[in-house]
Amino acid sequence: MQDMFNKYLSLRRKILVVDDELINREVLGNIINSDYDVLFAADGDEALKIIRKEEQTLSLIMLDLIMPHIDGYEVLRSMQNSPNLKRIPVIVLTADKSAEIKSLELGAADFISKPYDMPEVILARVRRLIQLAESYAMLNRTEFDALTGLYNIEFFWEYCSRYDIFFPHVQTDCIVININKFHILNELHGREYGDMILKTISSFLQNTVAKKDGFACRRSDDTFYVYIPHQPDYEQMISDLESYIQSAAGNARISLRIGIYTRTDHSEPINSGFENANTACSRGRSSYKTVITKYDNALHEKELYNERLLQETDKALQEKQFRVCFQPKYKITGAVPTLTSAEALIRWQHPTLGMISPGTFIPLFEENGLIHKLDHYVWDETAANIRAWKDKYGTSVPVSVNVSRMDIYDPNLEQELLGIVHAHNLTTSDLLLEVTESAYTDNSKQIIRTVEALRADGFRVEMDDFGSGYSSLNMLSDLPIDALKLDMGFVRNICVNEKDMKMVNLMIDIAKYLEVSVIAEGVETEEQYLRLRNAGCDIIQGYYFSKPLFPDDFEKLLVNKEWKC
């Protein structure tokens, strides 16, 4: 590449000399032909023909002004009207000072007076002008994006920093604009169409943003950056942009995602401002309508925190940073509440972040598929604890574990659970399986098949969060379940909201109709407990009886299974 470039630099440039007088052409040609290839034209008409033919290779035009038919001014005018010809520098050959202003207005770059008194000066001026024009063309080519005419990113950064130097106290906005599913647009309508959309957006940005003293660049394929003095509201501008795009887009629906970050501290690097705008922009992803998202620092901190948790999960599982604890469930149908089972719950004891609530990491793991690994870990730890209690005390209670929505779709689920049971020399009755109600409504046929198989193996299945999903009464009667676990939201409010109590009564009636037991979790007060007992609830779990306990504490309950107030 460098070789090619050097070769290009050493090439003899081509110059066109235009003069209607042969002697003048020859004299000037004789001055410059030592260093340049020289073409000649005797009038404006011939000159324009040569210029159009040689537009890629001409480095300079030396142009007489007064010529018959098409004069030098007309040649300049024609060149000005053509973007391709405009780039070729023109030296006007004149003895007339008054012609200089008009020529300059028409794009002439320099003048040489007739007669040609100083040939070496003429050569030097020709050389300098060609160098300047080539440097400018090179700069121009790198400064602007070839397709859209917006700045390229390097120049954009440069103009941003200059802006900050000249206007240090102006609050600015970093805006990232991205086209939703641009690759699909390209595939459906062709690259030319995609390019047309990019050019449409660019043209809007060039006009609108400049009016507000901002500037724009094309960052990558379908991403635009805008740096602009802070505006309180972009709704109107974006709505105008959408209409502008739609008028060019035809039938295709095009939507944008836009991220905005307001920069208050100019000492902060400009690119981190745009990273923040990018973060905001990515939140509007997958939307079919245009979404404007303003950067929210707290949300970003949360994202970073979540990302850290995700990255450290495998290590945490290996190091057993996750600790399983057990919340007892008491049967309340007899004279005194009796320990009947427990629910395995998880805590993350992080070495530097401290205790992390499951409310933080479980939704995250569910989103990322890590929940399956965590569930497996809990099943195994739970089974190990049950085994230990049986060995130590000769007794234990069944413990319910969560089977997440994702586990249900795992074709190996049954084998996995049986494997754990056998590995710890337990029976399937030692593990209760909790499946959330909404999982049933996702794909009821598949889940019913899976649950039926598990029940056939001897596992008992509890429907968790009952009342929060959308089970139809018709579906409920077919469900292969052993217990309904009322959604905590209802239980929490039974003493403050009579409607919730009525709902609980209804759910208990359904359970009775289905001939399955009813479990209430989240029971914290005596009043809640009494209401539930009176309503016919079978099993209670909650802080009223006990908080979740780590294994050492839980095993003390196994010695005396009755609950003591």
């Binding site: 042969l22 002697i23 004299v27 007064i66 040609y116």
Partner: protein, 113 residues
């Protein structure tokens, strides 16, 4: 045949003329000969006779450029004066200037024979 000496004797500023031709004597003399092949003086005379001042200006202007480049001073002087008058399309009697030009042109042509 033209030589530098003959041109010098005619009154041309050959030093200037040669400098403009990058000191190539052959080239300089060739250009002067070429200039003498034309009939611009006659054309200029006709244009003035027809009172076509636009055409007369174009012709005088072109001729002025050539003569200046070749530093043919005795010819350049009357043509230069005519060019400036014609630039503003001055309708005046050009016969004396024209006569001076024609006489110098003829003189130079004779030198070239």
């Amino acid at each position: 045949m033209l030589t530098i000496e003959k041109l010098k004797a005619f009154g041309a500023n050959t030093e200037e003329g040669l400098k403009r031709c990058v000191n190539k004597e052959d080239f300089y003399l060739r250009m002067v000969n070429k200039a003498l092949e034309g009939d611009q003086i006659e054309q200029l005379s006709s244009a003035l006779a027809e009172k076509n001042l636009d055409k007369a200006f174009e012709l005088a202007h072109t001729l002025k450029g050539v003569l200046a480049n070749l530093a043919l001073t005795p010819l350049l002087e009357p043509i230069n004066t005519m060019t400036e008058l014609l630039r503003s399309r001055t309708d005046t009697d050009y016969s004396a200037l024209l006569l001076q030009s024609q006489s110098k042109w003829t003189e130079l042509k004779k030198l070239a024979e």
